[in-house]
Amino acid sequence: MSDSASIMPEHPPVTDWVNDFDHTDPTWTENPFPIWEKLRAASPVVHTERFLGCYMPTTYQAVKEIAYDTDHFSSRRVIVRDMRPEITARAPPITSDPPEHKPAKQVLLPPFTPDAMKKLEPRVRAICNELIDEFIADGKCDAAARYTKHIPVRAIAHMLGIPEKDGDLFIKWIHEILELGIKDENALMGAVREMTGYFAAHLEQRKQRPTDDLITALMQAKDKDGNLLGDEHVLGSLRLLLIAGIDTTWSAIGSSLWHLAKTPADRERLVKEPELMPLAIEELLRAYSPVTMAREVMKETTISGCPIKPGNMVLLSFPAANRDPAMFPDADKVVIDRKENRHAAFGLGIHRCVGSNLARMEMTVAIEEWLKRIPDFGLDPAGKVTWSEGTVRGPRQLPVLFGKAS
């Protein structure tokens, strides 16, 4: 989110969270964790009449049951919104169900393996240091606006082969789709049209002259019968990669820095014991998972003993699953070297995030480079931390001061 003032139509404030939850309520945006605890204590699945009817699984077990059940729950709509217009702009494979899902996903997987990410890593390290160079002498910065926001934009632009300088445009589209789009159909469709036009022009250029990037790779990819994917499929997948690849990781890096800014013990430990980084990244992903997905109920069923009826959406909160104390001892505590951690930050089942290896690499590099250059920092008491609303959660303003005195 680039602006702090919300222009969304207001929903009535929530007074009864258990029967009337709303993931766009300012209380949820500010601090959702006590709300999830309350909902989980009430039932493994809760329901709201808002959003034309929507369930929310509150336990790890219930989230897992739904994520694995592609028979009763469709991915054709992946954002819980005020309206459910006819589906026009698909984004395979995230909006695909079996049997279309697997071939659409397999085309995207090879460019995102851990080995492929190792090749991109030096560029991401350089991006991080270029950004830090711009503000380190100031002794303070808004880490969201000056650092975390730019890393995933530049990395995915580099992979797709589009100009890194178009980043502000991408951030605008993502805000219109993931935040404004929950309540404003025109904002969402406008952004989708602009993105489609943008990528269509890049696709046309590559048809004339193929380049060594992900757009060309998708354009030339063939399904198992040897057919090209077709422009509509390619444009849908490109929209997905841009939308899914940016504010998700921006949020994860931001929440991690927010935690380290206010937790000197964890920060000092990571500086002294950098070998803890892989465990620390997984724990930060668990505790501050940015992404909540959605499903649409297609057939009547039961989940964790609760009746589920078609016509409703499902708010599939992986972040809430990751705070379930039945699954994670001390679930509300960040245990920076947590050993057993089957977190679901990247989803469970067939829709496991295709960019999870990219996100991990970006998070690791962004935190490592920051700690090398700025080992001591804290929240700026003169500033205010603000959080994004809705589908992806992370700090959008993160004012920090550098140095021991902070």
Binding site: L109, R342, L348, N357
Partner: protein, 69 residues
């Protein structure tokens, strides 16, 4: 030294989270799609037994079986 543990990745359950490869690269490999399989016949050298259990207990899909012979 050869130990008593054997690991196996259930290919129907693995979704390519790659947690095992990150925690125990000596024991797991990934295919071109990023899905995991055990290295060789899945035998775990004694000195890597802790890593085998660590990988098993971090797989979000519960796709790794560890058996004692």
């Amino acid at each position: 030294m050869a130990g008593k543990l054997k690991i196996r990745v259930d290919q129907d359950k693995c979704q390519g989270h790659a947690r095992c490869k990150s925690l125990a690269p000596e024991l797991f490999d990934l295919d071109e799609f990023g899905n995991a399989h055990e290295v060789g016949d899945g035998s775990v050298p004694v000195e890597l037994e802790d890593k085998a259990w660590l990988a098993q207990s971090n797989c979000p899909e519960i796709a790794i079986e560890v058996t004692e012979e």
